[in-house]
């Protein structure tokens, strides 16, 4: 169906666009004035968790736009919708999906960490410990999911 192809294309563009836009945001975060070139500010774990929080946030938001479009397809009947979400089941789409899950897990854990500082200012003194705990939690939650999903995608890929 031509409609499905169109919507599929739109979802695809938006999703890839999400990734690119997230990259663009990363560059924007460290934008400098013309009279101030020089390497990126070194900063500590706080700066980098903050940057990653922004990038994952923007990436997830941009994906959401694509997701709104695919859900919109359901308004035209189940065939169109099913054909559109076929896109997500393609083996080559899996890495993107894994990234999305990683971004969400990270954003969630880091978000909780930030909220803790807001309500208990004294926790700011232990910010590095909190950051490392948060990163470990993210990895622990993310790795099994990634292994399962990528393994699945590998089986369906033409390479296996």
């Amino acid at each position: 169906m031509i409609g499905a192809k169109l919507i599929e294309g739109l979802v695809f563009t938006l999703t890839v666009g999400a990734g690119l836009f997230a990259l663009y945001v990363l560059i924007g975060l460290f934008r400098l004035r013309k009279d101030q070139k020089g390497p990126i500010y070194k900063g500590g774990v706080g700066q980098w968790t903050w940057a990653a929080h922004r990038i994952t946030g923007v990436g997830i938001l941009a994906f959401l736009f694509g997701h709104i479009v695919d859900t919109f397809a359901v308004g035209f009947g189940p065939e169109l919708y099913n054909e559109t979400v076929e896109l997500y089941k393609q083996w080559w789409f899996a890495p993107g999906e894994v990234l999305l899950i990683g971004a969400t897990i990270y954003h969630a854990f880091n978000g909780v960490r930030i909220i803790l500082f807001d309500f208990w200012p004294a926790m700011a003194l232990k910010q590095k410990t909190f950051a490392y705990v948060q990163i470990v939690l993210t990895v622990v939650a993310f790795v099994p999911v990634a292994v399962i999903m990528l393994g699945n995608a590998w089986e369906h890929s033409p390479f296996s």
Binding site: R33, Q36, G43, Q47, F119, A124
Partner: protein, 234 residues
């Protein structure tokens, strides 16, 4: 020992963009970076522009980006720095020349929070001594240490992209009065800091806390101000 330096130079009269220039200076390991910069300025290139005054980490004029991080040139020793030592002006403020930046936006944020004692004449008779317990004093002790060097504010990624943000230094100085038991301007200041350019622009990146040459727990102070603004409690 020989010290290699990479200095970010910018002369508004001749340059369209800033560029790095390299220098080699003879120095002792226990020399401060400021001494080395002096040697460049005094013996190699008199056009190097920078600010410094006390040379003892108290006037706050020589904050710079040193090897990628904000610090006072008069407070870091050459032996503790990896070579070549790169020095850039602090970020987010317009560069006037070399390491001299226009501090006006920084001070605008500072002034915005009314950094002076506000007293209520009805509450406090000027004729009487105003007692403050050591416990009451301890609440804002940390934020009295600020020397307004701008190392915190110009290490803040939010400030780099948004000059309107009052910045960590302004919030630290607001904290100093908001939590002072003798001051009655807390409500006023919290109102100012609750606005779009106020304390809530802080996204807890913690660069400010690491950059403060006085060791002020900047982010913690900002969080206390946010909390006070949120719940109206001091």
């Amino acid at each position: 020992m020989d010290v290699k330096l990479k200095l970010l130079r910018f002369n508004p009269e001749t340059d369209t963009e800033a560029h790095f220039e390299e220098y080699t200076v003879e120095a002792e390991p226990m020399d401060r970076l400021l001494d080395v910069l002096h040697k460049v300025k005094w013996y190699q290139d008199g056009t190097l522009a920078m600010r410094r005054s006390c040379a003892h980490a108290i006037c706050g004029s020589d904050a710079m980006v040193i090897n990628g991080e904000n610090a006072l040139a008069c407070k870091v020793l050459v032996k503790d720095l990896a070579q070549p030592i790169t020095v850039e002006p602090i970020r987010g403020l317009p560069v006037i020349k070399d390491f001299v930046v226009d501090m006006e936006p920084f001070f605008a944020g500072y002034k915005a929070v009314k950094p002076w004692l506000i007293t209520d004449p009805h509450e406090h008779e000027p004729a009487r001594e105003r007692i403050q317990s050591p416990e009451e004093r301890a609440v804002f002790d940390d934020t009295t240490k600020c020397i307004l060097c701008a190392a915190c504010t110009t290490s803040c990624p939010i400030f780099w992209s948004d000059e309107g943000y009052v910045g960590p230094a302004a919030i630290v100085n607001a904290h100093r009065f908001i939590f002072d038991s003798r001051d009655s301007g807390a409500r006023e200041r919290l109102e100012i800091l609750s606005q779009a350019d106020g304390a809530f622009k802080c996204r807890t990146a913690f660069n400010c806390t690491a950059a403060c040459p006085r060791g002020i727990k900047v982010t913690k102070a900002i969080q206390e101000v946010k909390r006070a603004a949120l719940f109206g409690t001091v």
